[in-house]
Symmetry: C2
DNA sequence: TAGATTGTTAATCGATTAACAATC
DNA sequence: TAGATTGTTAATCGATTAACAATC
Protein backbone atom coordinates (compact mmCIF):
# COMPACT_ATOMS: atom_id res chain seq x y z
CA UNK A 1 0.00 0.00 0.00
CA UNK A 2 2.67 2.49 1.05
CA UNK A 3 4.85 3.30 -1.93
CA UNK A 4 8.21 3.32 -0.24
CA UNK A 5 7.63 0.45 2.10
CA UNK A 6 9.68 -2.56 1.23
CA UNK A 7 9.01 -4.78 4.19
CA UNK A 8 6.18 -6.17 6.25
CA UNK A 9 3.38 -3.80 7.11
CA UNK A 10 2.82 -5.58 10.38
CA UNK A 11 5.17 -3.39 12.35
CA UNK A 12 4.79 -4.21 16.02
CA UNK A 13 3.39 -1.78 18.56
CA UNK A 14 6.71 -1.70 20.41
CA UNK A 15 8.34 -0.32 17.31
CA UNK A 16 5.56 2.16 16.61
CA UNK A 17 5.84 3.59 20.08
CA UNK A 18 9.47 4.41 19.43
CA UNK A 19 8.85 6.09 16.08
CA UNK A 20 7.78 9.51 17.39
CA UNK A 21 11.04 9.81 19.29
CA UNK A 22 13.06 8.82 16.24
CA UNK A 23 11.08 11.30 14.24
CA UNK A 24 11.69 14.21 16.58
CA UNK A 25 15.37 13.45 16.76
CA UNK A 26 15.84 13.02 13.04
CA UNK A 27 13.82 16.17 12.34
CA UNK A 28 16.23 18.14 14.50
CA UNK A 29 19.19 16.72 12.61
CA UNK A 30 17.39 17.50 9.37
CA UNK A 31 16.71 21.08 10.40
CA UNK A 32 20.39 21.44 11.32
CA UNK A 33 21.28 20.37 7.80
CA UNK A 34 22.78 17.04 8.82
CA UNK A 35 22.03 14.53 6.06
CA UNK A 36 23.77 11.46 7.37
CA UNK A 37 23.73 9.47 10.59
CA UNK A 38 24.33 5.95 11.87
CA UNK A 39 22.74 3.52 14.27
CA UNK A 40 25.78 3.94 16.51
CA UNK A 41 25.43 7.71 16.69
CA UNK A 42 21.67 7.56 17.29
CA UNK A 43 22.25 4.92 19.92
CA UNK A 44 24.59 7.16 21.88
CA UNK A 45 22.33 10.19 21.65
CA UNK A 46 18.98 8.49 22.20
CA UNK A 47 19.72 5.67 24.60
CA UNK A 48 18.40 2.80 22.47
CA UNK A 49 20.82 0.05 21.43
CA UNK A 50 22.27 0.32 17.94
CA UNK A 51 20.98 -3.15 17.25
CA UNK A 52 17.44 -2.17 18.13
CA UNK A 53 17.61 0.92 15.96
CA UNK A 54 18.70 -1.15 12.97
CA UNK A 55 15.96 -3.69 13.60
CA UNK A 56 13.39 -0.91 13.92
CA UNK A 57 14.38 0.91 10.74
CA UNK A 58 14.43 -2.36 8.88
CA UNK A 59 10.78 -3.02 9.63
CA UNK A 60 9.75 -0.43 7.11
CA UNK A 61 12.39 -0.49 4.42
CA UNK A 62 16.07 -0.39 3.67
CA UNK A 63 17.07 3.19 4.10
CA UNK A 64 20.57 2.38 5.21
CA UNK A 65 23.67 1.73 3.26
CA UNK A 66 26.40 -0.58 4.51
CA UNK A 67 29.54 1.23 5.50
CA UNK A 68 27.78 4.58 5.25
CA UNK A 69 24.78 4.80 7.53
CA UNK A 70 21.32 6.32 7.08
CA UNK A 71 20.09 9.22 5.02
CA UNK A 72 18.38 11.63 7.42
CA UNK A 73 15.83 13.30 5.09
CA UNK A 74 14.79 9.96 3.61
CA UNK A 75 14.35 8.46 7.05
CA UNK A 76 12.32 11.46 8.27
CA UNK A 77 10.10 11.22 5.27
CA UNK A 78 9.52 7.51 5.73
CA UNK A 79 8.56 7.97 9.37
CA UNK A 80 6.21 10.83 8.45
CA UNK A 81 4.47 8.43 6.11
CA UNK A 82 4.19 5.71 8.68
CA UNK A 83 2.93 7.97 11.45
CA UNK A 84 0.49 9.65 9.10
CA UNK A 85 1.83 13.09 9.90
CA UNK A 86 1.21 14.30 6.37
CA UNK A 87 -2.45 13.46 6.67
CA UNK A 88 -5.14 15.93 7.71
CA UNK A 89 -7.50 13.95 9.87
CA UNK A 90 -10.48 16.08 10.76
CA UNK A 91 -10.91 16.77 14.43
CA UNK A 92 -13.66 18.65 16.24
CA UNK A 93 -13.56 20.49 19.53
CA UNK A 94 -16.55 20.42 21.84
CA UNK A 95 -16.65 23.05 24.53
CA UNK A 96 -15.42 26.58 23.81
CA UNK A 97 -14.49 27.60 27.35
CA UNK A 98 -11.06 28.62 28.60
CA UNK A 99 -9.67 25.13 28.22
CA UNK A 100 -11.14 24.65 24.75
CA UNK A 101 -9.82 27.99 23.58
CA UNK A 102 -6.30 27.34 24.82
CA UNK A 103 -6.21 23.91 23.24
CA UNK A 104 -7.45 25.28 19.94
CA UNK A 105 -4.74 27.92 19.90
CA UNK A 106 -1.81 26.06 21.47
CA UNK A 107 -1.89 22.61 19.92
CA UNK A 108 -0.03 22.29 16.60
CA UNK A 109 -2.70 20.14 15.00
CA UNK A 110 -1.28 20.13 11.52
CA UNK A 111 2.16 18.92 12.53
CA UNK A 112 0.47 16.04 14.33
CA UNK A 113 -1.50 15.01 11.24
CA UNK A 114 -4.78 16.64 12.27
CA UNK A 115 -6.90 19.59 11.27
CA UNK A 116 -9.20 21.32 13.72
CA UNK A 117 -12.24 21.56 11.49
CA UNK A 118 -15.03 22.78 13.78
CA UNK A 119 -15.81 24.00 17.30
CA UNK A 120 -19.08 23.36 19.09
CA UNK A 121 -20.59 24.69 22.29
CA UNK A 122 -23.92 24.15 23.98
CA UNK A 123 -24.18 27.88 24.65
CA UNK A 124 -25.78 29.35 21.54
CA UNK A 125 -24.83 32.85 22.63
CA UNK A 126 -21.24 32.13 21.64
CA UNK A 127 -22.21 31.76 18.00
CA UNK A 128 -20.92 35.24 17.16
CA UNK A 129 -17.53 34.63 18.75
CA UNK A 130 -14.72 32.93 16.90
CA UNK A 131 -11.77 30.76 17.82
CA UNK A 132 -9.08 31.55 15.30
CA UNK A 133 -10.83 31.33 11.97
CA UNK A 134 -13.55 28.95 13.20
CA UNK A 135 -17.02 30.02 14.30
CA UNK A 136 -18.48 28.39 17.36
CA UNK A 137 -21.33 26.20 16.20
CA UNK A 138 -24.32 25.24 18.36
CA UNK A 139 -24.30 21.65 19.57
CA UNK A 140 -27.62 21.06 17.84
CA UNK A 141 -25.69 21.07 14.55
CA UNK A 142 -23.36 18.31 15.70
CA UNK A 143 -25.09 15.27 14.21
CA UNK A 144 -25.51 16.90 10.83
CA UNK A 145 -21.88 18.06 10.80
CA UNK A 146 -20.48 14.63 11.63
CA UNK A 147 -22.62 13.03 9.01
CA UNK A 148 -21.32 15.39 6.37
CA UNK A 149 -17.68 15.95 7.34
CA UNK A 150 -16.82 12.61 8.98
CA UNK A 151 -14.32 13.84 11.59
CA UNK A 152 -12.19 11.06 13.09
CA UNK A 153 -11.49 12.56 16.50
CA UNK A 154 -13.31 14.70 19.06
CA UNK A 155 -11.77 16.78 21.83
CA UNK A 156 -14.04 17.02 24.84
CA UNK A 157 -13.73 19.98 27.21
CA UNK A 158 -17.16 19.79 28.78
CA UNK A 159 -18.41 18.64 32.21
CA UNK A 160 -19.00 15.01 33.10
CA UNK A 161 -22.70 14.65 32.37
CA UNK A 162 -22.75 16.32 28.94
CA UNK A 163 -19.56 14.43 28.08
CA UNK A 164 -21.37 11.16 28.70
CA UNK A 165 -24.27 12.05 26.41
CA UNK A 166 -21.99 13.48 23.76
CA UNK A 167 -19.70 10.46 23.74
CA UNK A 168 -22.61 8.18 23.02
CA UNK A 169 -23.77 10.38 20.17
CA UNK A 170 -20.24 10.68 18.75
CA UNK A 171 -19.38 7.01 19.10
CA UNK A 172 -22.62 5.91 17.50
CA UNK A 173 -22.06 8.18 14.52
CA UNK A 174 -18.56 6.82 13.93
CA UNK A 175 -16.18 8.96 15.99
CA UNK A 176 -14.09 6.41 17.86
CA UNK A 177 -11.13 8.55 18.94
CA UNK A 178 -11.24 11.03 21.77
CA UNK A 179 -8.97 13.47 23.43
CA UNK A 180 -10.75 13.67 26.69
CA UNK A 181 -10.47 16.54 29.17
CA UNK A 182 -13.79 15.77 30.81
CA UNK A 183 -14.25 13.79 33.99
CA UNK A 184 -16.31 11.18 32.22
CA UNK A 185 -14.32 7.98 31.85
CA UNK A 186 -14.91 7.00 28.23
CA UNK A 187 -12.93 3.75 28.26
CA UNK A 188 -15.17 2.30 30.96
CA UNK A 189 -18.17 2.31 28.64
CA UNK A 190 -16.37 2.05 25.28
CA UNK A 191 -13.35 -0.24 25.71
CA UNK A 192 -12.71 -0.11 21.96
CA UNK A 193 -12.48 3.66 21.72
CA UNK A 194 -9.04 5.21 21.36
CA UNK A 195 -8.79 7.63 24.25
CA UNK A 196 -6.19 10.13 25.33
CA UNK A 197 -7.09 11.57 28.65
CA UNK A 198 -5.53 14.29 30.73
CA UNK A 199 -7.46 13.46 33.81
CA UNK A 200 -7.40 9.85 34.82
CA UNK A 201 -4.41 9.57 32.55
CA UNK A 202 -2.69 6.22 32.84
CA UNK A 203 0.80 7.55 32.52
CA UNK A 204 0.16 10.29 35.01
CA UNK A 205 -0.61 7.66 37.59
CA UNK A 206 2.37 5.59 36.58
CA UNK A 207 4.36 8.72 37.10
CA UNK A 208 3.20 9.07 40.66
CA UNK A 209 4.21 5.48 41.27
CA UNK A 210 7.64 6.15 39.89
CA UNK A 211 8.05 9.20 42.02
CA UNK A 212 7.13 7.23 45.07
CA UNK A 213 9.83 4.61 44.81
CA UNK A 214 12.70 6.73 43.64
CA UNK B 1 8.60 -1.60 52.71
CA UNK B 2 4.90 -1.66 51.89
CA UNK B 3 2.99 -3.17 54.76
CA UNK B 4 0.56 -5.28 52.83
CA UNK B 5 2.90 -6.39 50.11
CA UNK B 6 3.75 -10.01 50.29
CA UNK B 7 5.64 -10.49 47.07
CA UNK B 8 8.47 -9.02 45.08
CA UNK B 9 8.63 -5.27 44.85
CA UNK B 10 10.12 -5.49 41.37
CA UNK B 11 6.79 -5.37 39.59
CA UNK B 12 7.40 -5.05 35.88
CA UNK B 13 6.47 -1.96 33.88
CA UNK B 14 3.99 -3.96 31.82
CA UNK B 15 2.07 -4.71 34.98
CA UNK B 16 2.28 -1.17 36.29
CA UNK B 17 0.84 0.20 33.08
CA UNK B 18 -2.24 -1.96 33.58
CA UNK B 19 -2.78 -0.95 37.19
CA UNK B 20 -4.58 2.35 36.57
CA UNK B 21 -7.20 0.55 34.49
CA UNK B 22 -7.68 -2.08 37.16
CA UNK B 23 -7.94 0.68 39.70
CA UNK B 24 -10.61 2.62 37.85
CA UNK B 25 -12.62 -0.50 37.24
CA UNK B 26 -12.41 -1.75 40.79
CA UNK B 27 -13.23 1.71 42.15
CA UNK B 28 -16.44 1.68 40.16
CA UNK B 29 -17.37 -1.72 41.55
CA UNK B 30 -16.46 -0.46 45.00
CA UNK B 31 -18.63 2.63 44.63
CA UNK B 32 -21.49 0.42 43.49
CA UNK B 33 -21.14 -1.55 46.71
CA UNK B 34 -19.85 -4.71 45.04
CA UNK B 35 -17.38 -6.34 47.39
CA UNK B 36 -16.46 -9.44 45.47
CA UNK B 37 -15.21 -10.21 41.98
CA UNK B 38 -13.20 -12.82 40.10
CA UNK B 39 -10.50 -12.91 37.45
CA UNK B 40 -13.06 -14.42 35.09
CA UNK B 41 -15.51 -11.58 35.56
CA UNK B 42 -12.84 -8.90 35.24
CA UNK B 43 -11.52 -10.64 32.17
CA UNK B 44 -14.87 -10.47 30.43
CA UNK B 45 -15.44 -6.84 31.33
CA UNK B 46 -11.94 -5.50 30.78
CA UNK B 47 -10.59 -7.53 27.90
CA UNK B 48 -7.49 -8.92 29.63
CA UNK B 49 -7.14 -12.69 30.01
CA UNK B 50 -8.12 -14.12 33.36
CA UNK B 51 -4.68 -15.68 33.59
CA UNK B 52 -2.98 -12.34 33.16
CA UNK B 53 -5.18 -10.73 35.77
CA UNK B 54 -4.27 -13.41 38.31
CA UNK B 55 -0.58 -13.06 37.49
CA UNK B 56 -0.80 -9.30 37.83
CA UNK B 57 -2.59 -9.32 41.18
CA UNK B 58 -0.16 -11.87 42.47
CA UNK B 59 2.80 -9.57 41.90
CA UNK B 60 1.83 -7.53 44.88
CA UNK B 61 0.22 -9.90 47.31
CA UNK B 62 -2.40 -12.60 47.79
CA UNK B 63 -5.68 -10.81 47.85
CA UNK B 64 -7.61 -13.65 46.36
CA UNK B 65 -9.19 -16.66 47.93
CA UNK B 66 -9.51 -19.95 46.12
CA UNK B 67 -13.06 -20.79 45.17
CA UNK B 68 -14.22 -17.31 46.10
CA UNK B 69 -12.42 -14.63 44.14
CA UNK B 70 -11.07 -11.21 45.11
CA UNK B 71 -12.16 -8.71 47.71
CA UNK B 72 -12.84 -5.46 45.88
CA UNK B 73 -12.11 -2.90 48.63
CA UNK B 74 -8.89 -4.68 49.61
CA UNK B 75 -7.72 -4.79 46.03
CA UNK B 76 -8.54 -1.10 45.50
CA UNK B 77 -6.63 -0.19 48.57
CA UNK B 78 -3.60 -2.21 47.56
CA UNK B 79 -3.49 -0.59 44.12
CA UNK B 80 -3.84 2.85 45.68
CA UNK B 81 -0.76 2.07 47.73
CA UNK B 82 1.22 0.89 44.77
CA UNK B 83 0.31 3.78 42.52
CA UNK B 84 0.95 6.26 45.30
CA UNK B 85 -2.50 7.77 44.97
CA UNK B 86 -2.72 8.43 48.67
CA UNK B 87 0.42 10.55 48.54
CA UNK B 88 0.45 14.33 48.12
CA UNK B 89 3.35 15.02 45.84
CA UNK B 90 3.86 18.75 45.54
CA UNK B 91 3.42 20.13 42.08
CA UNK B 92 3.87 23.69 40.81
CA UNK B 93 2.24 25.41 37.86
CA UNK B 94 4.22 27.89 35.80
CA UNK B 95 2.23 30.21 33.59
CA UNK B 96 -1.11 31.60 34.80
CA UNK B 97 -2.72 32.23 31.42
CA UNK B 98 -5.92 30.68 30.11
CA UNK B 99 -4.36 27.27 29.81
CA UNK B 100 -2.75 27.40 33.25
CA UNK B 101 -5.99 28.53 34.85
CA UNK B 102 -8.04 25.78 33.26
CA UNK B 103 -5.54 23.14 34.26
CA UNK B 104 -5.44 24.38 37.82
CA UNK B 105 -9.21 24.24 38.10
CA UNK B 106 -10.04 21.16 36.03
CA UNK B 107 -7.41 18.60 36.98
CA UNK B 108 -8.25 16.47 40.03
CA UNK B 109 -4.74 16.66 41.47
CA UNK B 110 -5.48 15.06 44.78
CA UNK B 111 -7.09 11.95 43.31
CA UNK B 112 -3.96 11.51 41.22
CA UNK B 113 -1.66 11.69 44.23
CA UNK B 114 -0.63 15.31 43.72
CA UNK B 115 -1.19 18.66 45.35
CA UNK B 116 -0.98 21.90 43.40
CA UNK B 117 1.14 23.86 45.85
CA UNK B 118 2.03 27.07 44.00
CA UNK B 119 1.45 29.03 40.81
CA UNK B 120 4.08 31.24 39.18
CA UNK B 121 3.93 33.76 36.36
CA UNK B 122 6.53 36.07 34.86
CA UNK B 123 3.99 38.88 34.84
CA UNK B 124 4.27 40.52 38.26
CA UNK B 125 1.03 42.41 37.71
CA UNK B 126 -0.87 39.19 38.30
CA UNK B 127 0.30 39.00 41.90
CA UNK B 128 -3.04 40.30 43.21
CA UNK B 129 -5.04 37.74 41.29
CA UNK B 130 -5.67 34.27 42.60
CA UNK B 131 -6.24 30.85 41.13
CA UNK B 132 -8.49 29.04 43.54
CA UNK B 133 -6.87 29.58 46.91
CA UNK B 134 -3.37 30.10 45.50
CA UNK B 135 -1.81 33.50 44.85
CA UNK B 136 0.16 33.95 41.66
CA UNK B 137 3.80 34.29 42.67
CA UNK B 138 6.41 36.14 40.59
CA UNK B 139 8.88 33.88 38.82
CA UNK B 140 11.74 35.58 40.68
CA UNK B 141 10.61 33.65 43.76
CA UNK B 142 10.89 30.31 42.00
CA UNK B 143 14.38 29.22 43.08
CA UNK B 144 13.72 30.05 46.71
CA UNK B 145 10.38 28.25 46.66
CA UNK B 146 11.79 25.06 45.17
CA UNK B 147 14.60 25.05 47.66
CA UNK B 148 12.17 25.28 50.54
CA UNK B 149 9.19 23.23 49.41
CA UNK B 150 10.87 20.63 47.17
CA UNK B 151 8.09 20.11 44.64
CA UNK B 152 8.46 16.95 42.54
CA UNK B 153 6.69 18.05 39.39
CA UNK B 154 6.25 21.22 37.35
CA UNK B 155 3.50 22.01 34.85
CA UNK B 156 4.69 24.30 32.09
CA UNK B 157 2.19 26.48 30.23
CA UNK B 158 4.61 29.09 28.90
CA UNK B 159 6.05 29.77 25.42
CA UNK B 160 8.99 27.86 24.01
CA UNK B 161 11.89 30.14 24.93
CA UNK B 162 10.98 30.74 28.58
CA UNK B 163 10.16 27.03 28.88
CA UNK B 164 13.71 26.21 27.86
CA UNK B 165 15.27 28.51 30.47
CA UNK B 166 12.84 27.39 33.15
CA UNK B 167 13.40 23.71 32.50
CA UNK B 168 17.12 24.11 33.04
CA UNK B 169 16.54 25.95 36.29
CA UNK B 170 13.98 23.41 37.49
CA UNK B 171 15.97 20.35 36.48
CA UNK B 172 19.12 21.65 38.10
CA UNK B 173 17.31 22.28 41.36
CA UNK B 174 15.89 18.77 41.47
CA UNK B 175 12.56 18.86 39.63
CA UNK B 176 12.81 15.95 37.20
CA UNK B 177 9.16 15.49 36.29
CA UNK B 178 7.25 17.72 33.94
CA UNK B 179 3.83 18.05 32.54
CA UNK B 180 4.68 19.98 29.47
CA UNK B 181 2.26 22.13 27.50
CA UNK B 182 5.00 24.27 26.00
CA UNK B 183 6.50 23.78 22.56
CA UNK B 184 9.94 23.21 24.01
CA UNK B 185 10.86 19.53 23.70
CA UNK B 186 12.22 18.67 27.14
CA UNK B 187 13.16 15.07 26.42
CA UNK B 188 15.57 16.12 23.69
CA UNK B 189 17.81 17.90 26.20
CA UNK B 190 17.00 15.87 29.32
CA UNK B 191 16.51 12.23 28.32
CA UNK B 192 16.23 11.24 31.98
CA UNK B 193 13.39 13.59 32.81
CA UNK B 194 9.91 12.13 33.17
CA UNK B 195 7.80 14.06 30.74
CA UNK B 196 4.14 14.07 29.91
CA UNK B 197 3.49 16.25 26.94
CA UNK B 198 0.30 17.30 25.24
CA UNK B 199 2.02 18.61 22.19
CA UNK B 200 4.54 16.27 20.67
CA UNK B 201 2.81 13.58 22.64
CA UNK B 202 3.97 10.13 21.64
CA UNK B 203 0.60 8.50 21.97
CA UNK B 204 -1.07 11.24 20.00
CA UNK B 205 1.16 10.43 17.08
CA UNK B 206 0.60 6.72 17.56
CA UNK B 207 -3.05 7.53 17.39
CA UNK B 208 -2.71 9.17 14.01
CA UNK B 209 -0.89 6.09 12.79
CA UNK B 210 -3.69 3.88 14.00
CA UNK B 211 -6.29 6.00 12.35
CA UNK B 212 -4.45 5.80 9.08
CA UNK B 213 -4.47 2.03 8.75
CA UNK B 214 -7.93 1.27 9.97
C1' DT C 1 -18.79 -33.01 49.42
C1' DA C 2 -18.93 -30.68 44.85
C1' DG C 3 -18.01 -26.55 42.48
C1' DA C 4 -15.44 -22.65 41.87
C1' DT C 5 -11.50 -20.03 41.57
C1' DT C 6 -7.09 -18.96 43.06
C1' DG C 7 -1.83 -19.38 43.08
C1' DT C 8 1.80 -21.19 40.62
C1' DT C 9 4.42 -23.82 37.39
C1' DA C 10 5.32 -24.89 32.58
C1' DA C 11 4.78 -23.77 27.64
C1' DT C 12 4.44 -20.35 24.26
C1' DC C 13 5.05 -16.29 22.18
C1' DG C 14 7.31 -11.97 21.14
C1' DA C 15 10.80 -8.47 21.69
C1' DT C 16 15.56 -7.26 22.51
C1' DT C 17 20.34 -8.02 22.10
C1' DA C 18 24.50 -10.13 20.17
C1' DA C 19 27.08 -11.60 16.42
C1' DC C 20 28.70 -11.56 11.96
C1' DA C 21 28.63 -11.98 6.94
C1' DA C 22 27.51 -8.82 3.19
C1' DT C 23 28.86 -4.76 1.02
C1' DC C 24 29.37 0.11 0.39
C1' DT D 1 41.96 -2.33 -0.28
C1' DA D 2 40.73 -1.34 4.59
C1' DG D 3 37.31 0.50 7.53
C1' DA D 4 32.78 1.20 8.59
C1' DT D 5 28.21 0.08 9.11
C1' DT D 6 24.29 -2.11 7.52
C1' DG D 7 20.92 -6.18 7.12
C1' DT D 8 19.89 -10.41 9.03
C1' DT D 9 20.21 -14.59 11.60
C1' DA D 10 20.72 -16.74 16.10
C1' DA D 11 20.66 -16.39 21.18
C1' DT D 12 18.69 -14.37 25.10
C1' DC D 13 15.51 -12.40 27.75
C1' DG D 14 10.91 -11.21 29.35
C1' DA D 15 5.92 -11.25 29.15
C1' DT D 16 1.70 -13.70 28.18
C1' DT D 17 -1.04 -17.71 28.10
C1' DA D 18 -2.29 -22.42 29.34
C1' DA D 19 -2.81 -25.91 32.58
C1' DC D 20 -3.70 -27.81 36.85
C1' DA D 21 -3.02 -28.87 41.74
C1' DA D 22 -4.26 -26.56 46.02
C1' DT D 23 -8.00 -25.14 48.68
C1' DC D 24 -11.81 -22.25 50.01
Amino acid sequence: MENKMKKNSNVSMSVIRRLPRYYRFLSELNKAGITRTSSKELSEKMGFTASQIRQDFNCFGGFGQQGYGYNVPQLCDAIEDILGIKAKHKCILIGAGNLGKSIATHVPFSSLGFELSAVFDSNEKLKDEKIGSLSILPETNLAEYINKEKPVMAILTVPKKPAETLTKKLYDSGVKSFWNFSHYDISMDYPDAIVESVHLNDSMMTLSYKLKDE
